[in-house]
């Protein structure tokens, strides 16, 4: 009988455009759209910054030594025009008015410092809030630095290695998969959890508050079927919808990587494809299932209690923030799955998923997180059952 109720509720839900949008369409399209827009905007900014003409104002270069060096920098890093200023105050004002994009101040005693083989400090002025300015200044600066170093070494008659006795080199021992886990492992569980929640939301409201509001619940509860069976049948649809939305978001993410060519790096693509193994998918679904049941179990009592669709929506929507906000913990480095975090709902699933992506999740922690979430899911089901049995909640 539970399956019969599930079948009918699923059919009813699948014919609801609003639920279909949140369950299938939005999760699938969200990532291709978000990532595409993000990449295109970033590209246009980067391209704009690279090709943008920058006026470089210079003060104190009496020998035109620095102007020459700047002019020798290839135009490939971006076009430039050099403007000579008499004093630094006028230069600063021109930068603030965006008439000049970069300013270079050469100290008045530059010749003395050079002759005495001391450090010459040159100052770069720029508006760092503008995209590409800092990068261009760093590029010009490093070019001038390299020239000055070479000149000084020549004067001293030294080779570069004579003044650089030690060089540090870092070798990354982490596998590509682990690196990806650290970088993308934070965002993936966030996506799954957010869509898992949103996927549950509309069916929960529609199947409980909606049924009460439309006057169909009263009739349904007079049939010779135990109320817990009706509840479970409906709850299964809510959970399926949440799981489907989370799965669709995963599909959407892979569509955006596969078809939008966001990365040409074959190593990363290989790792991403490697993640999509039956082991990964089944482990991920096993972690998500009790979490989504927990979400459904929290939403259903609210949906049963609410008198109207609007009321239910106004309570459940803010709950979204409370439930999904802990999922952002995955973005912070240094927070790991341990004996403490394994007991914090939502956070434990995020951290376990992160480790699952990185391939470092131990069976012990997997079982621990799964058990904690199953326990919470059971409590949420009991809470739903108690609310569903209350006369004051079922009658409109």
């Amino acid at each position: 009988m539970i399956f019969r109720i599930f079948r009918k509720e699923l059919l009813d839900t699948l014919r609801d455009r609003r639920t279909l949008m949140t369950m299938l369409v939005i999760p699938i399209l969200a990532f291709p759209i978000i990532i595409n827009v993000f990449v295109e905007i970033s590209k246009s900014f980067e391209e704009g910054a690279d090709t943008k003409m920058m006026k470089v104002g210079i003060v104190g270069d009496h020998n035109k030594n620095y102007i020459q060096q700047l002019e020798q920098i290839p135009a490939a890093v971006g076009p430039k025009k050099i403007v000579v200023f008499k004093d630094s105050l006028t230069l600063r004002k021109a930068i603030e008015a965006d008439q000049i994009q970069l300013g270079l101040i050469i100290p008045a005693n530059e010749n003395n410092l050079r002759e005495n083989q001391q450090t010459i400090t040159i100052n770069w002025l720029l508006d760092a809030s503008e995209v590409g300015r800092s990068e261009r200044a760093a590029l010009y600066g490093s070019s001038l630095q390299a020239n000055a170093d070479a000149q000084r070494l020549q004067t001293l008659g030294l080779r570069p290695e004579q003044i650089k006795p030690l060089a540090n080199n870092t070798i990354n021992c982490a596998s590509d998969k682990k690196m990806l886990g650290q970088l993308a492992g934070g965002i993936l569980p966030y996506i799954f959890i957010a869509f898992g929640f949103i996927g549950c939301m509309y069916p929960a409201i529609d199947l409980f508050t909606g049924e009460k509001e439309r006057g169909t619940l009263e009739t349904l509860l007079t049939v010779p079927v135990a109320r817990w069976k009706i509840l479970i049948g409906k709850m299964l649809v809510v959970v399926s919808s949440g799981m489907l939305a989370a799965s669709c978001s995963l599909i959407g993410l892979f569509i955006s990587i596969e078809f939008l060519d966001l990365t040409d790096n074959q190593e990363i693509l290989k790792v991403i494809h490697g993640i999509l193994t039956p082991y990964f998918i089944s482990s991920l679904l096993a972690l998500l299932l009790p979490l989504v049941i927990f979400f459904a179990g929290v939403m259903i009592p609210i949906a049963i209690y609410a008198k109207s669709f609007k009321e239910a929506q106004s309570i459940i929507t803010p709950l979204n923030i409370v439930m999904v906000l802990p999922a952002m913990v995955g973005f912070f480095p240094g927070i790991e799955l341990n004996l403490n975090t394994a007991f914090i709902p939502v956070v434990n699933v995020v951290l376990a998923t992160k480790e699952l992506v990185a391939g470092t999740l131990s069976w012990l922690y997997f079982a621990g997180v799964f058990s904690v979430m199953c326990l919470l899911a059971t409590l949420a089901i009991v809470l739903s059952y108690k609310q569903f049995g209350k006369e004051s909640n079922i009658l409109s």
């Binding site: 009739t219 007079t222 009658l395």
Partner: protein, 257 residues
């Protein structure tokens, strides 16, 4: 057959409800010491003004809510200890009954037939009978949301009767319907009576009661004011017509009935 003995129903009031009702009392009594019985092949009418406790009583009979104290028997089955068994015998239709707008009539009927555990062969025969009786063939596969009020009412009737219940409960079934649509309900009640079913319906429209009922009970503020046959009611009338008599009984103190 429906048998009710000493039925009481008290609701706990929430703070909001206490505020709305302007009362300090934590509970409200909807039904008080109500006893009556409805016989097979007869139409029993539960009469009362708005807020009299009619809907609460019918909801208790339909096992939707439980009485605070008292007994309800449906065809000899204790509805409180065996609600699911009792529900198999009951068909419940209210004036505010909704239907699943995104499903078709045939999907709704099949769903309820499954919920009532109606066997496939019996179901097909029953569907055939009801569809033909209610002239439903033309809109069986259309979405309910796109049907007219009259068509929806026919679907509701069909859903209520698909398991061939021996006890049929109607809570203000013609409320908000036009005369042509209401006529379907009147026909249904008469047909149920002819088939020997036990019928109870609530109403505050005396003309409807006059047309259909064999027995009646009048309740006011949760208590029984009158219980007897329609013939006795007519015979003992102290006013010129049924409506005036109904008002007299409702307004009179119990000692003057």
């Amino acid at each position: 057959m429906i048998s009710i003995q000493n039925l009481n129903k008290t609701f706990t009031l929430t703070k909001q409800q206490r505020k709305e009702l302007n009362t300090d009392q934590k509970t409200a009594t909807a039904v008080q010491d109500l006893s009556f019985s409805c016989q097979p092949g007869r139409v029993f009418s539960l009469l009362g003004p708005n807020g009299a406790g009619k809907t609460t009583t019918l909801r208790m009979i339909a096992t939707l809510i439980a009485p605070t104290t008292g007994q309800i028997h449906i065809n000899g089955i204790n509805a409180l200890s065996q609600p699911q068994e009792a529900r198999k015998h009951i068909g419940f239709l209210t004036g505010s009954t909704g239907l699943y707008a995104r499903l078709t009539p045939i999907e709704v009927i099949d769903y309820y037939a499954d919920l009532y555990g109606v066997e496939k062969a019996a179901r097909e025969q029953r569907k055939e009978e009801l569809f033909s009786l209610l002239h439903m063939q033309d809109f069986l596969h259309k979405r309910i949301g796109k049907l007219s009020t009259g068509m929806k009412q026919k679907v509701s009737i069909c859903r209520t009767m698909i398991h061939d219940p021996s006890v049929v409960i109607f809570d203000e079934p013609t409320s908000g319907l036009d005369v042509i649509t209401a006529e379907n309900i009147i026909k249904l009640i008469r047909s149920c009576k002819d088939q020997g079913k036990t019928v109870i319906f609530s109403s505050h429209i005396m003309s409807e009661v006059d047309l259909l009922c064999d027995d009646l009970a009048i309740i006011h503020q949760g208590t029984l004011k009158y219980n007897g046959t329609m013939a006795d009611f007519r015979a003992n009338m102290q006013t010129a017509n049924l409506t005036e008599e109904f008002i007299r009984i409702v307004q009179a103190p119990n000692s003057q009935l």
